[in-house]
């Protein structure tokens, strides 16, 4: 959505009319809901968290810098909602793994029998991406699915531009390693 149009909507909302906010919810409900689905188990919980993300965005709309794209800012808030939820249920949203050679957690790794049976196709990759640590997974999805720039990814993930490009580079490396492993097993 054009940022000028988004700015007009946000200005109307800030002046006391909540109705135009519906356009933003309609536009971005899919990505936010699916972010939550990737982060938690259960569609009901995911819907509740997505709802919380939009409500939090509405409540903090005064802090949004008019003229920028709304989606990276919303995504940043949604990531915080997901992170808060994970902490509240005793799980760590950010699993820090720096060395690409050890970045695949044991629980993320497809077991060998499964890997042998799997074809090297989209389903395999889809499941692997879903199981990746959020910091890499979301960077890859923002870049290749939602076409965000590195600066926008950095804003959405609250990291530096250098950090964004490294997460994407390392995320790709994780997938490459996993796929080569599957190929070798086969």
């Amino acid at each position: 959505m054009d940022e000028t149009y988004e700015s007009e909507i946000i200005q109307k909302v800030l002046l006391g009319d909540p109705q135009p906010f519906e356009v933003l919810v309609r536009e971005y409900q899919g990505p936010v809901y699916n972010l939550m689905l990737r982060s938690v188990k259960g569609s009901d919980v995911a819907a509740d968290l997505a709802q919380e993300a939009f409500i939090r965005a509405y409540a903090r709309l005064e802090t949004f810098k008019v003229g920028r794209r709304f989606f990276p800012w919303l995504y940043s808030l949604a990531m915080n909602v997901a992170r808060d939820h994970m902490r509240s249920v005793g799980r760590d949203f950010h699993v820090f793994m720096d060395n690409p050679s050890v970045m695949t957690r044991d629980v993320d790794r497809l077991d060998e029998q499964q890997a042998m049976e799997d074809r090297l196709d989209g389903d395999t990759l889809f499941r692997f991406v879903q199981s990746m640590a959020p910091k890499y997974r979301e960077a890859l999805i923002l870049r290749y699915k939602h076409d965000l720039t590195m600066q926008e990814i950095a804003n959405a993930l609250d990291i530096t531009v250098s950090g964004a490009k490294m997460r994407i580079s390392r995320g790709l490396e994780m997938i490459r390693l996993q796929f080569k492993e599957v190929s070798n097993v086969r």
């Binding site: 200005q11 909302v13 800030l14 002046l15 006391g16 009319d17 909540p18 109705q19 906010f21 519906e22 919810v25 309609r26 409900q29 899919g30 990505p31 809901y33 699916n34 689905l37 569609s43 819907a47 997505a50 709802q51 939009f54 409500i55 509405y58 709309l61 005064e62 008019v66 003229g67 720096d98 989209g122 990759l125 889809f126 991406v129 890859l140 999805i141 290749y144 699915k145 720039t149 590195m150 600066q151 530096t160 531009v161 250098s162 950090g163 964004a164 490009k165 490294m166 580079s169 790709l172 490396e173 997938i175 490459r176 796929f179």
Partner: protein, 191 residues
């Protein structure tokens, strides 16, 4: 097929699959659930002022009103030009300099190479290099404003390579070093 081509095709497949990942639709009524929770905002004076200053405004003039304004503006413009001795300075515009990025690749092992950096929002598609068969190097010429510019080479769409010819680097905070291109006025330098 070479290993590089295999890897390039694998990367292309990975990016395609991520782009094609199907999303699930939010549950029915999600939109209404969100909207029902929203109370109209009560903007403070400060918020109203901020929006007034930053928002677009339309202004209308009748010809009668416009004539004295335009006359004054033209008079001020003429006065300003006279004080400048009719010379228009170009100092307000930053002086762009042509810089040349070079990455040696004797056997053309790379499939594609781009320069990504602070000057192009780290977007590879904006600065794709071309391969010079004679010099056996990947080359890109660009015009940049004065200042120091961080950059790296993106090889085959995913591998980040620092410029081996850049004597100056900066830590990106993630264990890697960005190369620095220092552009000084009309002459580009790599420090």
């Amino acid at each position: 097929m070479s290993g590089n081509e295999d890897e390039h095709m694998l990367d292309a497949a990975i990016k395609y699959e991520i782009r094609s990942m199907s999303d699930q639709r939010p549950p029915d009524g999600f939109l209404n659930r969100v909207m029902d929770k929203l109370e109209p905002k009560r903007p403070t004076v400060w918020v109203r002022l901020k929006l007034w200053l930053t928002g677009p405004r339309s202004m209308t003039f009748s010809p009668i009103q416009a004539i004295p304004v335009v006359t004054c503006a033209l008079a001020l413009l003429a006065l300003g030009l006279m004080n400048m001795n009719y010379s228009i300075s170009d100092e307000a515009e930053p002086q762009l300099s042509t810089v040349r990025f070079v990455l040696s690749d004797k056997s053309m092992s790379a499939h594609t190479v781009s320069v990504i950096g602070s000057f192009n929002s780290w977007k590879a598609e904006r600065s794709v290099m071309w391969y010079n068969d004679v010099e056996k190097t990947w080359i890109l010429e660009a015009t940049l404003p004065p200042g120091d510019h961080e950059y790296m080479f993106l090889v085959n769409g995913d591998k980040l390579v620092a410029d081996p010819l850049a004597p100056m680097t900066r830590d990106d905070g993630f264990g890697n070093k960005n190369s620095i291109m220092f552009v000084n006025g009309s002459n580009e330098q790599s420090l």
